[in-house]
């Protein structure tokens, strides 16, 4: 059955900051308005709105999708919020994609907002209740534990060193120095800086981790016949995939993200991609921690298992390498307002594939890119393939 073609036709984002003056509604509004302005549409022309945002505990509002509705442009429109934890930012445009692909709507506004700083005394508090309320929460786990447990297992399985992994943090923070919205861009950072940073939860150190951030991102999706009227450079959504592994995370081997592989295979099949390593020109995998970028590159089938660190050391994933990875600067550099950070990756592909990324532009006129996000208890993969 033939599917309707859907394109990204506009994008907007706020600066990513540690603590924003704007409320969550205002951040959503700023990003949404910029996205609409970028393709010269008005809100009246938008048929439906979808929202992506992570735990309500950040903003400190129950049913925060409802609270954020008017800021996102959803007043008196069909509107839903979708939620797959940290995977939400890449899922939101997938949610928007099937709104348009279904034939029910022609133009969909996709907005992702996160105001983590509202959660005091530390936004980590929102993560205390992600663990099983009966079998795990009494142990007092915090979010760093599960990343550290996964990172350790990954290093142990493939014999990786901290130095191999720290290169990702260095690359992304340097790339982010070219992003006008970045929170932690740093042209001067070195591997030694990462290796000498404070140990939080070994093997995780301070500079292995992306920062707490406030921000919003929005994109506009349009059906083919509308997209071609709106812009002469539509960026097509060629493939979408998503996948959720079992809740029983202590029953899985954490060395490999099978859920990301499943999501990638779903998206590649839809996009007609049989050889991702040849057919994908840019990757924006999810990098809330440096090792996650490596983990996800392997799950996306772009490198063999345990081999992404070696490719990073060889410079293959640099902006001017054979496969540029996180040319935006990623979450480690630009910042990590959870759902907004995922959508930032989609916006980055939009700008890169149109040749509009300025100082961040990947050379060689890339024609196809993949963005991916991850979330929950090391459990969910969301993948989108975009091309021109």
């Amino acid at each position: 059955m033939g599917m309707r073609k859907v394109a990204v036709v506009g994008a907007g984002m706020t600066k990513f900051v540690r603590r924003a003056l704007e409320t969550g509604k205002e951040l959503a509004f700023e990003a949404a308005k910029m996205a609409l302005d970028s393709c010269e549409l008005t809100l009246q022309q938008v048929d439906c709105v979808v929202h992506g945002t992570a735990p309500d505990a950040f903003d400190g509002v129950h049913m925060k999708g409802e609270y954020l509705a008017d800021g996102s442009g959803a007043w008196r429109k069909p509107y839903t919020r979708c939620y797959v934890g940290g995977g939400t930012g890449v899922f939101a445009p997938i949610h928007g994609w099937y709104h348009v692909a279904s034939g029910l709507f022609d133009i969909c506004l996709v907005v992702c907002e996160e105001k983590m700083s509202s959660c005091q005394p530390h936004p980590q508090g929102a993560f205390l209740t992600i663990f099983d309320h009966t079998t795990e929460r009494p142990l007092g786990p915090n979010l760093l534990w599960i990343f550290a447990l996964e990172m350790n297992r990954y290093m142990h399985t493939y014999g990786l060193s901290k130095r191999d992994i720290a290169l990702v943090s260095v690359k992304n923070k340097r790339n982010a120095a070219d992003h006008p919205c970045s929170l932690l861009g740093d042209r001067e950072i070195t591997v030694e800086d990462v290796l000498n940073s404070e140990v939080l939860a070994w093997p995780v150190q301070r500079l292995d981790v992306s920062p707490v951030t406030d921000g919003a991102v929005a994109v506009v999706l349009a059906a083919e016949h509308v997209a071609r009227r709106i812009t002469d450079k539509p960026v097509w959504i060629e493939g979408v995939g998503w996948n959720l592994d079992t809740t029983y995370w202590t029953n899985r081997d954490l060395c490999y993200p099978r859920y990301v592989e499943n999501a990638a295979r779903m998206a590649y099949e839809m996009a007609g991609i049989s050889e991702p390593r040849k057919q994908i020109h840019i990757a924006e995998p999810y990098d809330p921690f440096d090792y996650k970028e490596l983990h996800h590159l392997e799950g996306l089938l772009l490198f063999d298992r345990g081999k992404a660190p070696e490719a990073t050391a060889l410079g293959i994933t640099q902006r001017d390498g054979d496969l540029p990875v996180c040319p935006s600067g990623g979450l480690l550099g630009v910042g990590n307002p959870i759902a907004a950070a995922g959508l930032m990756k989609v916006a980055e592909l939009f700008w890169q594939l149109r040749g509009e990324a300025g100082a961040r532009q990947v050379p060689g006129q890339p024609r196809r890119g993949v963005a991916q996000a991850w979330g929950d208890l090391m459990q969910v993969g969301t993948v989108i393939v975009m091309g021109v």
Binding site: V17, R18, L21, T134, L139, V199, A201, E356, G358, A359
Partner: protein, 172 residues
């Protein structure tokens, strides 16, 4: 509109001093969110066994696996689990961390040592989350053999905390 041409993106970052000097205003709210989650059949039995100082898992004959914590269904084949399986309180460290900070980023002098511990008798080996104790942090290794240290019976309440922590198995 080309992003490369955008000079000023929206969004205003604040500093901590802006709050301390009351340059910006805010409201505060502590949510009153309390719950009493029904443990149900599988976890209810798990907690009851913990109170007796025992671990229990469940077996799916169809998938030929024994898992812990218990569940009434097998998530692989979506059939009801076939039987309860008493398990020993020993296992192997699958992965661990040495955590030097609390959730709100206060420094700890002695690290907490969370670990996934694959419990003996499960098949293929699967684990639970718990803490390690009675061990030097630098001595912990993946693959290390450990056993549960229980609270005395009169202090046990039917909780995962009825196990204080797991410690290295003492040989001989």
């Amino acid at each position: 509109m080309m992003t490369a041409q955008i000079k000023e993106f929206p969004g205003v970052g604040l500093r901590e001093s802006d709050f301390e000097q009351r340059k910006v205003l805010y409201t505060e709210w502590v949510p009153n969110a309390r719950y009493a989650w029904d443990a149900g059949v599988a976890i209810g039995r798990y907690l009851a066994e913990l109170k007796e100082g025992r671990l229990i898992g469940v077996r799916c004959r169809h998938c030929r696996r024994t898992v812990i914590p218990p569940r009434v269904f097998c998530e692989w084949c979506f059939r009801p689990m076939d039987e309860w399986v008493p398990l020993p309180d020993t296992g192997t460290v699958n992965t661990f961390s040495l955590c030097y900070v609390t959730w709100d980023m206060r420094r700890l002098t002695e690290p907490e040592i969370p670990a996934v511990i694959d419990i003996d008798g499960t098949h293929p080996p699967v684990g639970i989350l718990h803490l390690l104790g009675e061990v030097e942090p630098q001595a912990v290794q993946i693959g290390m053999r450990v056993q549960a240290v229980w609270k005395p019976p009169e202090e046990r309440t039917g909780s995962i905390l009825d196990i204080r922590y797991f410690r290295p198995v003492r040989e001989g």
